[in-house]
């Protein structure tokens, strides 16, 4: 009985006083300190009040920082939901933006088309006589034939031989008329022959296509010394074309006088057909 009590006492003493290998304070010491702090705090000593204020402030701040990640969890959840929603929304908006961009391209295309049409309409004012606007349906380049197909035909009053202009500038004449379409022979076609005039005198000549971009001037006066950069106009001598339609500028090329056309025959989208009375026999 006595031995058992001794063992109990030894164990208690050991538990209270033994510091252990890495412990600086014994249990009993810390218990006493705790009890003192508790009593001081309970009986509201001034010294402990000030100390407690200091400790509280420090620990509250530390607590605030320590719990910040957990406080952020609901926010994080909210953020994740928002992000998922934003991703979905972004997907939809991207699709919508793509759609708008396509529409923007369409608008740009229509704007350009409108500008072209306006130019043509403006040019119509300058060119005397009745005219009709036509869209180029086909402009497939061929080494043998330089022509375009337009969406106007006999239904619109188009006849063979009618001059076709791009803006103010001559580009060719009608050589084939269908009910709803027509073929325009371009000035640079090998078969194209147009009477022109240029210079102050003025000089008459024939503009002949050679299958290249720049047609040449033929049948020039014998003693004429050609020079470049002169504006070439239609003379109207054939009775088909109106006189005074600008065609291009002369360019010297060794012995030949070439004409650089004002309107690029490869870049046509809309053209104007001048509805003038043409004599089929003359044509």
């Amino acid at each position: 009985m006595s031995s058992s009590r001794d063992d109990f006492g030894i164990a208690i003493r050991s538990a209270l006083l033994q510091k252990g290998a890495r412990q600086k304070f014994s249990l009993v010491f810390l218990l006493i300190i705790s009890i003192i702090i508790f009593l001081l705090d309970t009986y509201q000593f001034k010294f402990i009040k000030l100390t407690k204020i200091l400790i509280n402030d420090s620990i509250y701040r530390a607590t605030n920082i320590a719990t910040a990640p957990f406080k952020m969890l609901p926010k994080l959840n909210e953020k994740i939901k928002e992000t998922v929603f934003a991703i979905e929304e972004n997907k939809d908006l991207k699709a919508e933006l793509k759609n708008f961009r396509n529409k923007e391209f369409q608008v740009e295309f229509l704007k350009n088309q409108n500008d072209s049409l306006r130019k043509i309409l403006e040019s119509d004012v300058k060119i005397r006589g009745k005219s009709i606007l036509a869209k180029v349906l086909l402009d497939k380049d061929s080494p043998y034939l330089k022509s375009i197909v337009i969406n106007r035909g006999s239904k619109s009053g188009i006849n063979k031989g009618m001059p076709v202009v791009d803006g103010n500038y001559l580009i060719g004449k009608i050589v084939e008329v269908n009910y709803l379409s027509s073929r325009v022979l371009l000035l640079n076609d090998l078969n194209s022959r147009i009477p022109i005039t240029f210079g102050k005198e003025p000089i008459q000549a024939i503009l002949s296509g050679k299958g290249e971009n720049k047609p040449v001037l033929e049948y020039l006066p014998e003693l004429y010394e050609p020079y470049g950069n002169q504006t070439v106009f239609t003379s109207g001598k054939d009775g088909l074309l109106l006189p005074g339609i600008p065609v291009g500028k002369t360019e010297m090329d060794e012995l030949n006088v070439k004409v650089k056309l004002f309107s690029d025959p490869n870049q046509l989208s809309f053209v104007t057909v001048q509805l003038i009375n043409t004599n089929k026999d003359k044509f």
Binding site: L27, L30, S34, I37, T42, I55, N56, Y60, T63, T67
Partner: protein, 172 residues
């Protein structure tokens, strides 16, 4: 460099229970799940202190337990020192059990943990009732004690596994 890294890693592994103890004391995070289950609450700090003072007292140390208690009092708004006394009581019981027990198993630990909870809550209750104006719910306190006791084997298993990892690190 490798030795430094190894020591740092071992230090972190060994300090984790202490970090958890301090974090539970300093943070507002508690083990009260009243929003999930009205009566469910348990005191993880007591489990940590008891287990590690019983198994490996060098992991925590009485000084840290004391400070953790002071911090807990400040955060919880309890009279300063009350949690320290309560925690040190648990530590004392664990130290005593370690002194008198040779073979320790889950069941002996679990049974003796009941003593630790009893004395810890007794001290807490006596101090609150006699030295402060605070009102406490005996029912809540009883549930807390009951669930702390109930969850001990579960936490014991986790800590036992963790202790094996710590021992492996030491032997590295």
């Amino acid at each position: 460099m490798a030795i430094l890294y190894k020591n740092l890693r071992a230090s972190i592994v060994n300090s984790l229970p202490l970090i958890i103890l301090y974090y539970l004391s300093i943070s507002e995070i508690d083990t009260h799940f009243s929003n999930m289950f009205a009566i469910l609450s348990f005191n993880l700090q007591i489990i940590i202190i008891y287990y590690w003072m019983l198994k490996n007292s060098s992991v925590l140390g009485n000084g840290h337990i004391f400070f953790a208690g002071v911090i807990n009092d400040v955060v919880m708004g309890l009279p300063l020192g009350i949690s320290s006394i309560s925690y040190l009581t648990v530590s004392f019981v664990a130290s005593y059990i370690r002194q008198v027990t040779v073979n320790m198993s889950l069941f002996t630990d679990w049974f003796t943990f009941l003593l630790a909870i009893f004395f810890s809550n007794l001290v807490y209750l006596v101090l609150i009732l006699n030295f402060s104006d605070l009102q406490i719910s005996y029912v809540d306190m009883s549930y807390n004690a009951f669930f702390t006791f109930l969850f001990y084997p579960f936490i014991w298993t986790i800590f036992n596994f963790y202790q094996k990892i710590m021992l492996l690190r030491v032997d590295d």
